[in-house]
């Protein structure tokens, strides 16, 4: 079968530092069948002795021919993320399969209003949704609540500012949980019930929510939205585990 399941080779065509620990990789993947925002791909690294290891990464880019971006946080002791950060250079080829997953997917045709909640690198699949929303000139009312530790840890900060200033119905709300710059007017604590209630309120009661991040953050946000009365079928979650995989 055609498919998402076959392993393919992608060539790294660009590498971008997003923060000190987060880097984006653009891959050119001949035969890539296209993807929907929120899907992911599996990367497989194989050593000369045959030892191999796989990791799943959210796709960061909107569908664009054979080009696919992933954004990877360097995890301490992370076999794959360390290799990607420390060893991979433009021109290298990587083994991958995808796109995978139909559960944590949003497309402009799915409508809204849309509440996106991301913690740390959990913003990556949400960024794919925002990029696809922009690409398709969607004006679906959308709010992104992004939680980061420090200002310099915000992934895609400049692009998010640009998207939010486009005047097409997107608002981006940041919370900084560890330190805040002088004059910071955004939230300055971990996501909690009150914050979610405030962020969700302008979207009304018919919103759809997509929550991605560390497991504890996703649990907190999903439970808070349930308590606000959002039915389970309008809450989609993607948990990374303790700090990501």
């Amino acid at each position: 079968m055609v498919s998402a399941i076959a392993w393919r080779l992608g060539t790294v065509t660009d590498i971008t530092d997003e923060t000190t620990t987060v880097r984006s990789f653009r891959l050119d993947v001949p035969g890539w069948p296209g993807h929907r925002a929120g899907q992911h791909l599996d990367l497989r690294l194989t050593a000369e002795d045959g030892y191999s290891v796989e990791r799943s990464y959210s796709i960061a880019s909107a569908a664009d021919g054979s080009s696919v971006d992933i954004t990877v946080e360097r995890i301490p002791d992370g076999e794959v993320s360390a290799f990607l950060h420390d060893t991979v250079v433009v021109g290298d080829r990587l083994e991958l399969r995808g796109p995978i997953g139909g559960y944590f997917v949003w497309e402009p045709a799915n409508g809204g209003p849309l509440l996106l909640v991301g913690g740390g690198s959990g913003v990556v699949p949400l960024m794919a949704m925002l990029r696809d929303r922009m690409r398709q000139a969607s004006t679906v009312a959308t709010r992104l609540l992004s939680s980061s530790r420090h200002l310099e840890d915000i992934i895609y900060r400049e692009e998010l500012d640009r998207l939010a200033n486009a005047g097409d119905g997107l608002e981006v709300i940041h919370t900084l949980t560890r330190s805040q710059p002088v004059g910071w007017t955004g939230y300055a604590r971990r996501i909690d019930d009150r914050m979610l209630a405030e962020v969700a309120d302008p979207l009304g009661s018919s919103l759809r929510a997509y929550i991605c991040g560390p497991t504890a953050l996703v649990e907190t946000a999903a439970n808070a939205l349930s308590r606000l009365g959002l039915p389970p079928d309008r809450i989609r979650t993607e948990r990374f585990g303790p700090t990501g995989t």
């Binding site: 079968m1 998402a4 399941i5 995978i100 997953g101 139909g102 559960y103 497991t215 585990g241």
Partner: protein, 95 residues
């Protein structure tokens, strides 16, 4: 929950999505939207909604409603074992 878990184990939980690639290689299609019924509490969940515990030697997918094990997956060098005792069914659409 059926099995008491320590905080570290609970925090290691991810969504069934995390196993999507490997399960797709077994079932021949993406199963994240495939509904399955928990044999314990009868709740129907999509595979992508199951709670996945992937840090051990095998991967375990648990029911989000009752916490019981629905699917267990163990990979060896040449095979993948899928233990489906915890599911009373998985429903695949005809195509």
């Amino acid at each position: 929950m059926a099995d008491p878990m320590d905080d570290a184990t609970a925090a290691a939980m991810v969504d069934g999505n995390a196993l999507a690639g490997m399960l797709a290689s077994v079932f021949g299609e993406d199963v994240t939207m495939t509904p399955g019924r928990c044999a314990h509490c009868q709740t129907v969940s999509m595979v992508g909604e199951l709670r996945a515990y992937v840090r051990g030697p095998g991967r375990v997918l648990r029911c989000p409603a009752c916490g019981e094990v629905v699917l267990r997956v163990v990979e060896t060098s040449d095979s993948v074992y899928v233990d489906v005792r915890g599911a009373s069914y998985l429903r695949f659409s005809r195509r």
